[in-house]
Amino acid sequence: MKNLMLTFLLFIGLFYGCSKTEFLDAKPDQSLVVPSSLEDFQAILDNDFDMNGVPNGLGLVSELGEIGSDDYYLTTDLYQNRLTSLYRDFYTWSKDANSGDNLNDWDRGYNCVFMANIVLDGLSQMKAGNYDLARWKEIRAAALFYRAHAFFQLAQVFAYPFGSADMEPYGIPLRLNADVSEKIKRSTVPETYAQITKDLEDAVESLPPTSSYKERPSKAACYALLARVYLSMRDYDKALAAANASLAIVDGLLNYNKLSASANYPFQGSGIMNTEVLFKSTFVTRSGITSPLSIFIAKIDSNLYQSYVKEDLRKGVFFRTATPSGFRYKGSFYASTAFFVGLATDEVYLIKAECQAKLGKVSDAVETIEKLRKNRFAANSDLYKVPASIALDQQSLLKFVRDERRRELIFRGLRWTDLRRYNMEGESLIIHRMLGADIYTLNPNDKRYAFLIPSLIMGYNPDMAQNPR
């Protein structure tokens, strides 16, 4: 009987042995963490899957602009046999080109914005004095950078270019907090760009000059992005200042003489960590096969290909012969089928040179562009030099720099923005698609220079204005 009572007491002890609060506070899933420390917020931003995109996985930057650009074409056979109807529509700028389902081009950008907002909201709720202020500022600056980067990329595809008076209402929705019950509405184009530049100007002060991880933003990358944004806004003074500020920190260039032009992937080895790369990012494409951009199917515009002279090492480093005819892209800094669309010094040099040319600083522009070209041409050639006839004339030089920009930055996700910008300046660039007997044309400043917001998104926000057609 005594034993029995002891057992009884033992059981009751078991019932009340542990504290009730502790028992009910046990984590249901041990891996769950409520982000509260600077370490947690840094970890959210270091999720390169969300913040930069994974090469050959799910990327970040919309590829719709590149798909609509004129650097490549598809043969009718490939167009018919490889593309889904959605991508055929994007390729031919169909006025109805729209996805009814989730479209990564939209979703991934806003996912990145949301993650940045979680960090920004979380940082602002931290109690002052409980953390290392310099680190706090740095993480906040990084979150602002990622958000501005995502906004800018979305704006290139789903909003109209800066400065177009008629299209001013059609900016992108600006998500500035992590509240998931917020009502979504579009901002105007000026508001969109004001937010982007404000965030970047705010961020640039607190970022470290450089970062050993190219997934993380740095001062050099932030100035480079500012230069890219101001250039797209045609604010050449500010773009030049930003480009200079970026190059003052990092101005390295990779000498293409060191690359093997005969390799399948010439950037293999030097690759994505090369001296030029400031910040990594990649297109959203998940499967290289269904996108018209796939390096297996896209052929390089023949005029563009011809514009690379024999001594231009890029001709071999960038392209391979396609069957039965034409040329294909070999792939980017990633040394794979994935596209690099991040920030690199070559772009900054080109922004600098273009601004200098535009602002009449002709000799400076020549110096800048030659510094880049020297690293792109065969060592024994002096063709990298700007021909004297061009070097003296501002307009010719500007055109020369812009052509150089197109050659250097092919498949870097910039051509679409450039087309929009050049047309805003009155260049009247008309681009075509030829498929058998069918010819499709995209006129300057066409309404189709902004893609339709996916109908799934419109379905959730019926009051929101769709891009006009």
């Binding site: 899933d29 270091d46 979703d107 993650m115 998500r175």
Partner: protein
């Protein structure tokens, strides 16, 4: 709490008082010796009364001249003089009517109650009924035996395999709670041997289930295992053998070989395959026919090539698959149990084993169960019981995906898996043969995929064991009160070792993909040897309960059965998984240094990738603290009033402690009207709950290690949700139990309303908000339904004939949904995920209006902007959800079963039919873009529109070579492909023969029974004009299962 301890100690001290009076002791049972609990025992002389306890025992004060009357509903009352009192005290009551079932005792997991004390809706399935079929999982045996339990089949099984009274939650756990011997069973229910089960009680409404509180929202299934009942030592032996032929692969609607070949010829002539010859990566395989066509192009005069192609037209890969990948299923099952009961001890020990060789070659399933249940009556007031169960399971899976050949890819219909010489053949599903034969110039591993040869190159084993130890101590310090303490410990572990041998396709392919040239020599980042993927998990749970039972006969007419208690439950699951490269089993070695850091450019497709690293750890904790109470008051065995309360607290994440708990309650009434043969009316109302551990109130992240940068990083687990709360399910139940025509026809009818509030949902969201779905209390649902059960004894002579009917209707609709709703039908057409829509069932089938085929080109026609249209883009983008055809629910709202049983002397026959009505499903068809993209096609290709006029004969669109996926998307989701899933089918036919007692007794056998059964023969009436059996929608159709069995009792 200390006070409680003193009370218990004080009670223990009171024990001796119980024996001070002179009393009559007895135990009331039915003829079979089963206890009749809560039976009224009345001293007619003194007019005092008592009732039997849950073991049928009672004691009553009496003088020698008094007479005692023992009465219970459904049994002949017995009046006996005290002087005639039997020596063993056992009083056996004869049942008043021919009872269809043994006495129905409901186990709620807390209490044993007579079924006619229940105010809510409860079904009890007896051992006899559970043994009608022979499935190794107890759940499969209750199918069709109780109304309101729905087993979804075919496509609908993808939604919920199994529900009680429809789905009452959106994203939280929808499965009913399963209780085994008083405690929720935390492991896999397939670990319970159905032969050890004595009864299954199904608690459907709030009054019966709310004692289970937070987990009762979906209904509760209470399983009670067998105890020793017989006074004599009893040995039961059972065995059965199951045979089932290979499934019918012709039910796969694959394109005919001849059609496929003609199609490929057409495409070849158009030059569609020419591009496949361009490198450097060959990601599209070239089928044998296309390969031959290329050969033919170079040798136009070679007639043997044509002959080879013609030869392939008669191939049917399904035949080869059936022959080489499938086999006859065979299962044998044994069960031995020894049991007995004496005054002090009830005991039962059993051993069960089954081994099954499944339909897929190389796959097998084993289970060993050992159970012992003992009850020790230590003194008249102390009872100790101990149940112990051990289960060991082992499954062998290997590398046989059956008809899904590889990575769920379909295969060209004319493939032959084995050559005419009997040697297994390669098939090319990832890359063309020419590429695989030449890449690496002989320095790589064999890259070919050979389904038959490779069958035994993967050794995939899952072994699990589980031990459940259950101890209960009950003390009855005073006559009406019992204090019990129960404790259950459960520990289980599962281990999956998946060994890809070095010659397996996975290892060879991976090794080749990661092959590269180093200093001029080929090497691979994947080490030599095999790959071992392991996944180990353990489960540990403690459950304890302190309970007071108060069973008091208040006066001659009124009786109270009440319980109150406290419960604690903690479950911890832990797991780890990982991968070893270079695993060699015969010398037990692995390669430690694998380069997981470098990004390699894959040889096969130029994609940048690291060596796949598979590893992780996890831990989950489920803690509950609960108070509960339940009481039933009965008056004159005529009116019953019940009430229950329960408060649950759980370790919800990020919720303030005071918000972690929620109270649940119920109330019910039962009235025996005394009308007809019998008519009892019931009504109950109550609130149950449900919770999901997926939900967290704060923003949560999880650390990950697989970034490109190599930096530690975190991924978002859930956005903040400050208003997270428990789901509540309100149920009202109105029922009647009746019998008429001298009990010839009896049954019960229940009508219920089941409304879910604050339902948790994983809701699709506007991606602009940053996430594509959100988990929160965002919906409410209203449901109602009917459960009818009828038993009719049609013949009662030498031949008996009984008919059983179960009929259920369940209708539940989303009432409110607070998340952004898409006006586009897209989210509602997806196969996966749930997109609630107000006014519709959770799983609703929508489709685009169908306007037939265009007579000029065979294009499918829909409606765009109000007009008949072939502008598919416009149809897909502009059709709003309200313009869609709403076909109906995916889960059939009407379902049930009809069973007829005949006996003649010692031979019995039983036929069980099931039926389902009112559900819908999408059939598959031929989609041009799918055929163009690969080499899988649908048999409807043969029925496609080909010339004007065909539109009158067919609804299958013409072949479209423009790869217009919008056209297919429209057709796939159009009304023409939605069909009713109505069907009536034979579930099983059972024939049994029992040896006559005279015969068996001579051999020392009490009982011997032989049976033969055909299960799921799929003899069915199908309610759709396409003739597609909704249970087998474009998947192999299973063939009838034959079972032969014997059982002996010694």
């Amino acid at each position: 709490m200390k006070i409680l301890v003193y009370i218990i100690i004080a009670m223990l001290g009171m024990v001796s008082q119980a024996y001070a009076q002179k009393i009559l002791n007895g135990r009331v049972t039915n003829i079979k010796g089963q206890a009749l609990l809560h039976t009224t025992v009345r001293n007619l002389t003194s007019n005092s009364a008592t009732s039997t306890d849950s073991d049928g025992k009672f004691s009553i004060a009496a003088n020698p001249k008094d007479s005692i009357r023992i009465m219970i509903l459904g049994y002949e009352p017995q009046t006996m003089a005290t002087k005639d009192w039997p020596a063993d005290g056992i009083i056996r009551l004869a049942s008043k009517i021919v009872m269809l079932e043994d006495v129905e005792v409901v186990h709620t997991g807390f209490q044993r109650l007579r079924k006619d004390q229940i105010t809510g809706s409860v079904d009890v399935i007896s051992e006899k009924m559970l043994n009608r079929t022979t499935g190794t999982n107890i759940l499969s045996r209750i199918e069709g035996l109780s109304p309101g339990i729905q087993f979804n089949k075919g496509d609908a099984a993808e939604t919920d395999a199994f529900l009680i009274r429809g789905r009452s939650t959106i994203s939280a756990e929808a499965k009913p709670l399963i209780v085994v011997d008083d405690f929720p069973y935390e492991g896999d229910i397939s670990q319970i041997n159905p032969s050890d089960v004595a009864s299954v009680s199904i608690l459907k409404d709030a009054a019966s289930a709310s004692i289970w509180g937070a987990r009762a929202g979906n209904g509760v299934i209470v399983i009670k295992t067998k105890q020793g009942l017989s006074d004599k030592l009893k040995i039961d032996f059972k065995s059965d053998f199951t045979l089932q032929n290979k499934p019918d692969l012709n039910n796969l609607n694959w394109i005919r070989s001849a059609d496929m070949i003609e199609f490929e010829k057409l495409r070849f002539a158009q030059g569609a395959y020419d591009n496949l010859l361009n490198g450097p990566y060959y990601l599209t395989p070239i089928t044998p026919v296309v390969e031959l066509l290329f050969q033919k192009r170079n040798n136009p005069n070679d007639a043997t090539i044509d002959a080879q192609i013609e030869q392939m037209k008669i191939n049917d890969v399904r035949k080869d698959m059936a022959q080489y990948l499938y086999r006859q299923r065979f299962r044998r099952q044994y069960h031995v149990a020894i049991s007995g009961r004496s005054k002090q001890v009830s005991h039962m020990t059993s051993v069960g084993y089954f081994k099954e060789l499944s339909n897929l070659r190389g796959t097998a399933d084993n289970r060993l169960t050992i159970r012992t249940n003992n009850t020790f009556r230590l003194s008249p007031i102390i009872e100790l019981s101990h149940n112990l169960q051990y289960t060991h399971t082992k499954q062998q899976a290997n590398a046989n995906p059956g008809y899904l050949i590889m990575d769920n890819r379909e295969i060209y219909p004319y493939a032959s898996l084995v050559g005419s010489d009997g040697s297994p053949k390669n098939v090319y599903l990832n890359h063309p043969k020419a590429y695989l034969d030449t890449v690496g110039a002989g320095h790589l591993k064999d890259w070919s995929f050979n389904p038959v040869r490779d069958l035994n190159t993967v050794d995939n084993k899952v072994a699990g064991s589980n031990l459940t130890d259950n101890i209960a101590l009950a003390v009855k310090p005073i006559t009406d009160l019992s204090v019990s303490l129960r404790y259950q410990y459960q520990i289980g572990s599962d281990g999956n070792d998946n060994h890809y041998k070095s010659d397996s396709y996975l290892v060879r392919r991976l090794s080749n993909q990661y092959a590269y040239k180093k200093n001029g020599n080929w090497t691979s980042a994947i080490p030599e040897g095999g790959i071992l993927d392991f996944n180990e998990s353990t489960l540990q749970s403690h459950q304890g309960r302190l309970q007071l039972d108060y069973n008091k006969r208040i006066n001659a007419d009124m009786r109270l059965d009440a319980i109150a208690g406290y419960e604690i439950r903690s479950k911890i699951e832990q797991g780890k998984y990982g991968r070893y490269y270079g695993y060699v089993d015969d010398r037990m070695s692995v390669v430690r240094d694998v380069d997981y850091i470098t990004n390699f450019t894959l040889l096969s497709n130029g994609v940048l990738a690291k060596v796949p690293a598979v590893s992780g750890v996890n831990k989950r904790t489920d803690n509950f603290l609960s108070w509960f109470g339940n009481a039933v008051v009965s008056y004159k065995d005529q009116i019953y009033i019940s009430g229950s309360v329960r408060k649950d607290e759980a370790n919800l994440f990020g919720v303030e402690t005071n918000a972690k708990g929620t109270p649940f309650w119920s109330a019910g009434l039962r009235y025996e009207t005394g009308l007809l043969g019998r008519l009892a009316l019931r009504a109950s109302y109550g609130v149950n709950g449900n919770i999901s551990r997926m939900a967290t109130a704060m923003t949560t992240i999880q650390y990950i290690s697989y970034t490109i940068s190599g930096l530690p990083a975190a991924t978002l687990n859930s956005p903040p949700n400050k208003s997270l709360r428990w789901e509540k399910i309100n149920t009202a139940n109105f029922g009647a139990d009746f019998s008429v025509f001298k009990n010839r026809l009896s049954g019960s009818l229940d009508y219920y309303l089941k409304n879910g509030r604050d339902l948790l949902s994983q809701a699709p969201m506007d991606p602009t908000l940053g996430i594509t779905s959100f988990f929160g209390n965002v919906a409410s649902m209203d449901g109602h339904g009917l459960d009818l059960t009828l038993q009719s004894r049609n013949l009662e002579s030498v031949v008996t004939w009984i008919t059983f009917l179960n009929l259920s209707y369940t209708n539940s609709k989303v009432k409110k949904y607070l998340m952004p709703k898409s006006v586009s039908p897209m989210p509602y057409l997806r196969n996966s995920g749930i997109s609630p829509l107000e006014g519709k069932p959770l799983y609703a089938v929508f489709s685009y209006p169908w306007k037939g085929l265009d007579p000029t080109n065979g294009n499918p026609q829909g409606i765009a902007n109000g007009e008949v249209s072939e502008d598919y883009k416009s149809i897909l983008n502009n059709t709003r959800i309200e313009d869609m055809v709403y076909n109906g629910p995916m889960q059939s709202p009407w379902y049930g079963s009809l069973r007829n049983e005949w006996t003649y002397k010692n031979v019995g026959l039983s036929v069980n039919l099931s039926f389902k009505f009112g559900g819908y499903f999408r059939t598959s068809s031929f989609f041009s873009s799918t055929l163009l993209a690969g080499f899988s096609g649908h048999a409807d290709y043969a029925k496609r529109w080909q010339a004007a006029g065909d539109e009158l004969k067919t609804d299958v669109p013409s072949l479209d070579l423009t790869r217009n996926s919008d056209r297919d998307q429209f057709y796939k989701s159009s009304a023409i492909l939605v069909q009713k899933s109505d069907n009536i089918r034979v579930e099983d036919i059972l024939l049994y023969y029992s040896l006559l007692p005279e015969t068996t007794r001579r051999w020392g056998i009490q009982n011997a029974r032989f049976f033969a059964q055909v299960q799921s023969p799929n003899w069915a009436w199908i309610g759709n004009n396409m003739g597609v059996d909704p249970y087998f929608n474009n998947v192999p159709k299973s063939r009838p299962t034959y079972v032969f069995g014997i059982s002996f009792t010694f």
